[in-house]
Amino acid sequence: MVVVARKKRGSDASVSFYADLLQASLKRLTGAGKAEDAWARFFAPDDIVAVKVNSITGRRLSTSPALVTAIARGLRSCGVPEHNIIVWDRMTWELEKAGFAVNFAREAPLCFGTDAPSVGYESSPTELGAVGSCFSRIVTQHATALINVPVLREHALAGVSIALKNYYGAIHNPNKYHSDGCSPFVADVSTHPDIRGKTRLNICDAVKVQFHGGPGYKPKRVSHFGGILVSTDPVALDTVGTHEIDKLRKSNGLRTLREEGRYPAYLSIASDERHALGVSDRSRIDVINMELA
């Protein structure tokens, strides 16, 4: 199931804006009556939850700090202490540039990159299909649970960069894996046992959508969408996200990714028997569209 939750008004992308969307989405996703019960379906108070954001584009099109604050509130509501929450990406300076408050102390959610002191990457590569990479020790050693919080954007080489590709930020050598439309590499990265086993939620920040010209920020190719996409299945989320990007491409006079021969091949690879990361056949995905007042 993929929940696409949008708001008609109040699209100021504040914490409360995101909190409303999150609560509604998670309740719908889990069937829980209360938001805190929905969060508790995924996380326990002793979890160390690492929230993987996407901060590569600075403030203009990165995961919103307000969304992450709303996620942290949700985690606290089910008993996860603040100091058990780590907001992270590759580089500390990129997080700062994207508007996150870097924090190495223990009073609030921690926030730093894999490059932070005493963090780093595993010292030897893990080989997964066509990929051989050292993974962030935040994923392999620190976290017991992961929340993947990408943005919704088209990507010149990968087709799209949403949930699956966001984990390129967990490896030391993403530059090696951009040929052939990033396939099968994007799918291979997510087969790492710690990514596969620990990722409990995918929450895509889709207030703004870059429908062409990504990954760099191109203001003329960004459209307001005013929502989030939530799923436990990263492949389904990416499939639905790709569909939304294509709709925006068409409405802006562009050809779809498939028409351009750039539809991400890694989606079907991710859903094959060997990868088994989720569902890429859109007809088999339960898409719940919610529009909040």
Binding site: M91, Y121, P125, H155, S179, G213
Partner: protein
């Protein structure tokens, strides 16, 4: 029993020669260089784990240098023309090498003047056996590589991005000064693939070095496009090319690259007048068949001539090739015999200290012209580039 055949003594022997410490083997670390960070990553697996321990590296803090050899496209995309990968790189993205970044449609090198490894090495370590033997090479390496060889001995540098290594700041002029202060006859761009990925740095250093009679040597996989290679050849003193194998299949599956451009570079070198040597790392079962070695040796003889030094090096298991055994001596000796039978005059065995195949023999009288053990020269029987015993001219740059 020869030293290299003694199973119990081999480790001690290598220790004595300093060969068990990766990059540091035979090297002298250079203390007190300006910039930040100690010498670059060693082989202990610490480099990536230590990433950022000097504080968060900000690529914008680096001595950015606009890249040479790239084209600008629409939507702020660039196309790198330095190596045969010809990466198309979107804004805020990097090329395959991980050290060249597109910023708003301008392509930059992130490793200009930022080596992560700095050592003084014997030139024999490169290996260059016919180029200023017995001299030191001031050797630097940067993060990044345009291949991903599964057997890479220096993968912690070559497969890292510059923010994951601890780097010096060493401008070309300072590099030359350091070379002179350490009595190094040359500067070597080595260890990873700085020759290609730090192309601008190498070129500027070579220009500076040539003013001071310090020659620059390019230790490279040879995976570079024709135009940049021609530009580099105007400034270089010598080149060593790693010919990884003689099949496209191997290059694709083991190195994530292609063979033909490397052969093209060797053909360019043959016409250039710049001294060059070839290393062929022999991996058991993967590139050591009689037929492949024969084809390669015949190609070298036919296209490059009989006097190009060819080094068959022993492989040690590492990186993504830990399950393969090290190359047996017998395989290296077989390779050497094949190459000599094909008509090559200077065929060496590498990474087997004490082996007779480390020495240079006169093709006319068969007597040793330069006798080596490890990186040490034990005996010289060469004068003015000629065998002292028979007067045969030995090709190379001898002074």
């Amino acid at each position: 029993m020869k030293a290299y055949d003694a199973p119990c003594k081999r480790r001690d022997f290598l220790k004595k020669l300093g060969l068990l410490s990766g990059i540091a083997a035979g090297s002298v670390a250079v203390p007190g260089l300006p910039g930040f960070g100690p010498p670059g990553p060693g082989p202990s697996g610490s480099a990536l784990a230590q990433a950022g321990s000097e504080g968060s590296f900000r690529p914008q803090d680096a001595a950015l240098k606009e890249a040479l050899f790239y084209k600008k496209h629409a939507e702020m995309e660039v196309e790198c023309e330095l190596c045969p990968k010809n990466c198309k790189v979107g804004d805020i993205e990097r090329g395959y090498c991980g050290v060249r970044e597109n910023r708003s449609g301008v392509y930059y090198s992130l490793v200009y003047a930022r080596p992560c490894a700095v050592h003084v090495d014997p030139i024999e370590k490169k290996p260059l056996f016919h180029f200023l033997p017995g001299t030191s090479a001031f050797s630097i390496g940067t993060a990044g590589c345009n291949m991903d060889c599964k057997f890479c001995q220096n993968w912690e540098m070559s497969q890292a991005r510059p923010e994951q290594t601890r780097n010096y700041l060493l401008e070309p002029r300072e590099l030359v000064q350091n070379a002179r202060q350490t009595n190094s006859a040359s500067i070597a761009f080595t260890y990873s693939e700085p020759a290609v990925v730090a192309f601008e740095y190498m070129l500027d250093s070579a220009r500076e070095g040539n003013k001071e009679n310090v020659r620059t040597v390019m230790i490279s996989n040879g995976y570079i496009n024709r135009e940049p290679m021609l530009e580099a050849l105007k400034h270089l003193g010598a080149v060593k090319i790693d010919l990884k194998a003689f099949t496209e299949k191997y290059y694709k599956e083991i190195c994530d690259a292609t063979l033909k451009p490397v052969l093209d570079v060797l053909l360019l070198l043959a016409k250039s007048g710049v001294w060059y040597e070839i290393v062929y790392l022999v991996l058991p079962t993967l590139n050591d068949s009689d037929s492949e070695l024969t084809s390669m040796s015949r190609w070298v003889k036919r296209e490059l001539g009989p006097d190009v030094p060819l080094h068959f090096s022993r492989f040690y298991p590492t990186y993504k090739m830990k399950r393969l055994p090290q190359t047996p001596n017998s395989t290296l000796e077989r390779a050497r015999n094949i190459a000599r039978s094909a008509g090559l005059n200077y065929v060496y065995i590498g990474n087997v200290p004490g082996h007779e195949g480390e020495s240079t023999y006169c093709p006319a009288c068969d007597r040793p012209v330069i006798r080596r053990a490890g990186y040490s020269i034990l005996e010289r029987n060469i004068s003015n580039g000629k065998c002292v015993q028979c007067g045969q001219k030995i090709p190379g740059i001898w002074r």
